[in-house]
Every structure is written in C-alpha cells, then in structure tokens.
Symmetry: C2
Subunit: 472 residues, 2 copies
C-alpha cells in the first residue's frame, strides 16, 4: 500500500517538474532555445554545447577547487533577461525564483567564483518582478587564466615565476561558459575588464528605461508633450513609491531625456489603435517604481483624464507635498534598456551574440505571429460592428466608473510621517546637524549605516547614487 502511494508520489513529482519547466518556458519564453521546434530538437545549438538543463539542479557536493591558486579578475558583465517569469532581479528571502539566484548558481557551477560573499559583487540596478533588462550590468571578481596579469587581474600569492612568465592565452571565455549553464531567458551579452574599485553600483553614468504601449485610444501627442515636462532635476516623491524604511529620504533626481515616440516612424498622426509607441527615459538614477508611476500619469494624460500640466503640479512638492493615490503602470512592458559606463571596453563574442539574436528572433516570431492571429480576429469583429472599449489595460487595478482627478484624491502618507514611524522603531535617528538643521540617518536597528540630509532646509543634498533602492 505504501509502495503504491510512494509510486504515486513519484509520478506526481515528475509531472510537477515537467509542468514547472513548461510553465517557465511558456511564461518567460527563451532568449536561447529554439522555441518552434519539438522538444526532441537535437540541432538546438544552445543544447549541443552541453547540457543546459543540469544547471537547474543544485550540485550535490562541491568538488574541492583551489581558487587561491588562480588569478582573479575584476570584470563587468552585461546581462540581458526577460523578466516575465521571475520574481525580480535581486535575491529575495521568500523565493528562489530571481535572476540573481540563477546568476549565482551559474557562477558557482562554472567555478568562476568561490562564493557570493567573497566575490566583490555589485549590481547596477534592481529590476522588479516582471521587468526585463537589455543592459543590466554587474561587477564582480571572477577566476582568470591570466597568470601574466592584465587590466583588473590580481595574481595569486606565491606564484611560481615560471607560471607567471608563460605566454598568456586568451582570458577564460566568460560569456560562453556562463550562457551554457544559465537558463534560456538570462543571457550574458559581454564582459569587460575593469580596474579594481570600479563598481556597477557607483560608476554608472546613466540608465535608460523603455516602456512599450499601444496607441489604443490614447492621445499620444499630448503624452509626448507631457513627457518632456519630466526632464530636468526635480523632486519625484509624488512619482515613486517611497522607501523610507531603507533610508531613501531625498527624492531629487535628474532626468536627462524623456520622450514618447512611435516605433514605426510614419505613425504619429494616424488613427491606428494598434500602433506601438515607446516611452523612453534616461536618467542618472531612479527611485523605486519611478518609471511606472511616471508612465501611469502619462496614461491618464493620454486618456485626457488629466492635463499635461498635472506633471508640473506633481513635481511641485511644496504645493503638493503628499502623493495622490494612483496605481502604477503594469510591469511587463518595462525594460531597463541601457546602463551606461565610461571607461569600459566590452568584449563581445560574436558567436554568442548571434546565438542570442537567433533565439530572440525565434521567440519574437512566436509572439508576433500570435499577436497577429489575435489582431485578425479583432479586425474581423470590428468589421461586424464590434465596439472597442476605451479602457486602458496597462494600469493596475480596476477600471473606475467615475474618474477622480488626481489632485482631489486621498493622499499617501507624508514623508515626515513616514520618518517618524521609523524613528519610533529605531530604524532612523534624528540628530541636530551643524547648522541647526535636522539630520536623519540610519538608526542602530537599521540593516545598513547610511547618512542622509534632512528633507527640508538647506543642508547638502547627497549625490544621486545607486545606493538607494532602485527603480523597477
């Protein structure tokens, strides 16, 4: 009897495993597998380079490997990933399903690092659940083959002079090694040697996000006019989710450019509901959910529920110190498209790039064809008199029957109130600063030590850094 039950358990577990990978595949799709071929496809070049599936199993036991006898190299890695199947980029306590978790599995499996803690790992940004990236950058110390040294290379101690003077082979093929074991929807696009101290976190010059959306019944010209109002240096507290508990206390950020444009150039003035547009925004650093809040307001403007001037109002934090309640835009259209760094020379393995390109093209084919199957039916129904709803489905939450203007809505908690909340709990501490201004900084009970100036008054605003919790 138990035997039968155990057998049944095994069957169910196998089926669950199968369904989980199917679900992952159909939700996230691939950047690296032939998604149009039957599963037994043997010419899939991502699988012929080695078994990509085994990366999903955690290694049973670690074979001892002497990292200390190898050179280490400080490098930057450029990653692309489709965020739809993940719970975000950063490792989380309550789930294993993050991009970082898969990345570290790959780094450990390939023995490029010994462990995360000693790997000197910094990341440029964090993307939230459902958000994708084309140019996520991390810096990290990896095992190197360069016994003769090189940019970013640290040689092992007690190095034999004979080994040191050997002619240098090329560096380890980091991109190929990692892509072989990473899941299909996470790809390394290139690597760059970096000076010691170079940090993906602190040395990023700018970040660019893209948010894709269809015209529907939106007034995209109004949205384009509105988007420009975001440019410049402003206090964006009304266009983000405040993260006071993590020490984010000042909300001034600089937006270098913000635009709304059609993906196909001829289409600005046409009436075509199904044309695609992109909101592209470039800034030094972003607050938590900032781009999705900015997009949500643009969508209200596009639906003519708000005027473009609402943006100026929301950026006027003296007049409007507390954020009106509104839902942010949904996650899946958002891409961290570029993270720009000076001083890095990216090494791209052309074959790897072509592999990723081909896989993306296969995945795109499936998506685009399905979209056109749907569009064919849509047009068929429109021809029969079907009436489109004007509901914009890119904003989270239910459709409002009667629209309530932003400035008439209930507001979220003020910054002061949030600060008080955390001061009470010892996570933040108030102190009198040099000029009599109030200084607020991380308290003894906080996870990190961090200093921030007072949100009011004339104390120095700290440089925008990536220390604060990043945008989606």
């Amino acid at each position: 009897m138990s035997g039968d039950l155990i057998q049944r358990i095994k069957l169910l577990e196998d089926e669950l495993e199968k369904l989980r990978s199917q679900l992952k595949e159909s939700a996230g799709g691939d950047m690296g597998r032939n998604s149009c071929s039957p599963p037994s496809e043997s010419s899939d070049f991502m699988m012929s380079d080695g078994n990509t599936r085994s990366s999903k199993k955690k290694s049973g036991k670690e074979r001892p490997f002497d990292f200390s006898s190898h050179p280490r190299r400080h490098v930057a890695l450029k990653l692309a990933y489709l965020g739809w199947a993940y719970q975000g980029f950063a490792v989380q306590e309550n789930t294993d399903n993050t991009v970082e978790a898969r990345l570290f599995e790959a780094l450990l499996k390939t023995r490029l690092i010994q462990d995360r803690q000693s790997s000197n790992y910094h990341r440029c940004g964090r993307t939230d659940k459902g958000v994708s990236a084309f140019s996520q950058v991390i810096t990290i110390d990896l095992r190197s083959s360069q016994f003769c040294g090189g940019l970013g290379v640290t040689l092992p101690e007690n190095l034999d002079l004979g080994t040191k003077s050997k002619a240098s082979a090329s560096e380890l093929p980091y991109v190929k090694m990692l892509n072989r074991v990473l899941p299909q929807d996470i790809r390394i696009l290139g690597w760059a040697a970096a000076e010691q101290g170079f940090s993906a976190r602190f040395d990023c010059q700018s970040r660019t996000y893209r948010y894709y959306f269809p015209r529907g019944s939106l007034d995209v010209e109004l949205m384009a006019d509105a988007a420009k109002r975001y440019e410049g240096t402003h206090d964006f507290r009304n266009l983000c989710k405040m993260d006071v508990g993590n020490g984010v206390l000042q909300f001034e950020r600089t937006i270098l450019s913000a635009s709304v444009r059609p993906l196909q150039p001829q289409q600005v003035s046409s009436a075509e509901r199904y044309d695609l547009f992109v909101f592209e925004i470039k800034g030094l650093a972003f607050l938590y959910h900032q781009v999705r809040c900015m997009m949500a307001v643009l969508l209200l403007i596009g639906q003519k529920l708000e005027a473009p001037e609402i943006i100026d109002q929301l950026l006027d934090v003296e007049k409007n110190p507390r954020k009106p309640q509104y839902s942010m835009a949904v996650d899946y259209p958002l891409v961290l498209y570029d993270c720009h760094f000076d001083g890095l020379t990216w090494q791209q393995e052309a074959e790897e790039v072509s592999h990723v390109l081909s896989s993306l093209q296969r995945h795109w084919t499936q998506s685009a064809v399905k979209a056109h199957v749907l569009l064919g039916m849509i047009r068929g129904l429109e021809e029969r008199g079907g009436v489109s709803s004007n509901h914009c489905c890119l904003v989270e939450g239910s459709r409002q029957k009667n629209y309530r203007p932003l400035l008439e809505r209930p507001c979220c908690e003020s910054l002061e109130s949030r600060i008080n909340h955390f001061v009470k709990r010892g996570r933040l501490e108030r102190e009198e600063g040099e000029n009599g201004d109030e200084m607020i900084h991380r308290g003894k009970k906080s996870k990190h030590s961090y200093n921030a100036s007072s949100p009011s008054g004339s104390s120095q605003i700290p440089k925008e850094t990536v220390e604060q919790k990043q945008e989606d």
Copy 2:
C-alpha cells in the same frame, strides 16, 4: 505513515491543478478575461456575469430536467477559439483537453442539450492541436423557449394549447448562456436558426484558412507567385497527410483562391525582416494537414530552396504519384478564419461581441507589447553587429545542413500500398464496380460505413464533402 503519504499526494495534486490552470492561462491566453489585471480583479466583466470557473468542475449529480416538455430548435453556432492550449477541436480518446469537450460541458451545464448523442450535432471542420479558429460552425438541436414555434423549432408533444398560444418571448440567449460557462479562450460569436436537416458538415459552401508568418529572409514575391499555382481543382495527395484508414481515398480538391500578402499594405517591397504576411486560402473542403503542407512548400520556395514550379510538379500526380518526405509548417500560426454558409441569418448579441472584442484587445496588448520588448533587444543586438540566422523556424523538425530537393527525397508510401494495408486488415474492401472499375469502400471492420470511388479510372468522383477528415 500512509496518512502522511496520502496527505502528500493531496498536496501534490492540488499543486498540479494550480499549475495546470496557470499553464493553460499562459499558453492559451484569453479571449474573455482581463489578462492585464491582477487575479483578484473584480471588475472583469466576464466574471461578473457569473462564475466562469465552475464550468471546469464536472457537475456532481444531474438534477432531473424534463427536456421533453421544452421545444427544441435546430441552430447553427459560430465559435471562435484560441487553439494554443488545446489538443485539437475534436474529442479524443486519450485526452480531455479538447475544444469539443469544453463545448459539450457547457451545453450540458446550461441544459441546452440532454446529451451529445441525441443532440444532432454536426461540426463544419476539425482543427488540429495548436490551430485556432475564428469561424468554426456547428449545428445542433438546443432547448428553445419558442413555444409558439419558429424556424427550426420542434414543439414538444402533448403541448397544452394555452402554452402554445402565449406571446413569444425572445429565444433563449444562447450566446450569453454559453459564454458565461465556457473557458475564456473559447467564445460563441453568434447563433442562427436553421431548417431541419441543415448541416454544418454538409452545407458548408467554403472554408478560408489564414497562416501568418514574418518575412524574415523569405522572398515573399516568389511565394505570392507560387501560391497562385494552388488555385483550381487539383489532386493534392502530395500536399496532405493521407488518411486512407479513415476512408479518404480521393484527393481532388478545389481551391477557390490562394494568396500571400502583407498585413500592412505598404510593405511588399521593403526589406524589413519583421513585417508580417499572411497566406490566405479559400477552398470548398480540405484534406488532413493540407494547408500546413502547402505552407511548408511555400516556405521552401521563399527560402529559394525550391522554385515555384515545384508546386506544379507536386500537383502532377501522374508524374509524381508518391509524396516526397517533408515536414509540414508548425501549428500555432494557422487559423480557420471563415466557414461560409448560405441561408443562415446570424444573430449577434452586440454586447457579447463587444466583450469578446475587448478581451481580445487585452490579450493582443500583452502579446504585442512582449513582441516589441523582444524586437527592441533584437534591434539593439543588430546594431552591435549581431548576425541573423536565415533559419526558418516555422517548419517542424531540425534544420538541414545540406538541402535536399523535394523531388530527390525518399517518398512516402503510395496510395495503392496504403489501400492494400487496410484491405488486409478488413478496414477497406475492394469490389468490382459497374464498369469493371475497382470500387473501394469501408470494410466490415471499419468504424463507419462509407463509399468511395476508385482512385484511378473514370468512375465518378464523389462530391467534396466534409465527411473526410478535415484539415487542421
């Protein structure tokens, strides 16, 4: 111990159930649910009309319902469905996951029929696994409210005269009743009263399929030229999967029109890999997998691996009596777009049509936005010198390193050989016909009785009907 095992089994089964619906949702998507909202979305109008989810559970016990006291009405129903999450339209022995299975659950649940066997059900065509339909048509006898009679109505026996003369209310709201309980990716678009004897199976005037595909590196002008060659009445045995076992013995079919055209009109001559095209084909009736085989050959022509004249060769069954081995095109881009019937007046409930339209628009938004996220990354890589592969991923099977021309390939079994195979097993029988020709018909061991003329000689070709196993 068993108790723990049983508990574990229950947990696993619950999780499997959850994953299955997630998989269904992410693979098939919806025609009727707000796919951009979080699952707790309460304003989703498809769910506010009643609990759509309970349709998935089979009813515990049937409450006795007196069908014989209600009028019956012979009707046609027009269906649309996304085939990506199903194992095909027609009910199958080895799986419950078919469109028909869901349809009959809905018909039974709404008590519109008593059981399938007595419902006088005919279907216009069968679509295969992964294939969608915009205009599938079935005819069936449904419960009616029309005690005063009407087109297609059969009154119950022993009808009380008082009941008969009551003013007629409208007919039952068939479309709304069924859509309320059908899964989201199967929708009834309309119904039509039909004369007794009207059959979706025998009275279909023409069927139109569409196959969507991206230009890639295909020569679409060559494909357009080639497609025209399919028009007319031809023997298509080399462009289908023979289904001799089911009595399909003659392969002449009439193609009324066949074309390849861009979905965006300006795009025929541009070089844009990512433009979408459609192969549209209208015929009286189709053979099994015929459209996908025709598409596969067009794709070979588009890749310049074959000349357009290959079609004329394949249609010359005297010269080429046996089909060369080649893979058909993949399933997901194919749509049974229209089934045309004379003499039906379709009743469309405008509100229902608008609901389906809105849901399709939401689903399209998600697909199209994701396709553009991918396209943005593709363009980024192309800008960095990534090289596209020319592999056409719309054909099943592995990519051939060295292309082997169709006419040089090994061939499939000939028709004669297949007939002999089934004659040996008693499923077909040979008989001498009137003119001395050989007649072949279903044998005693066959499931259906069916007569077909000889494939050779001058005996009469039976009218193209939908009796034969339909195209995908």
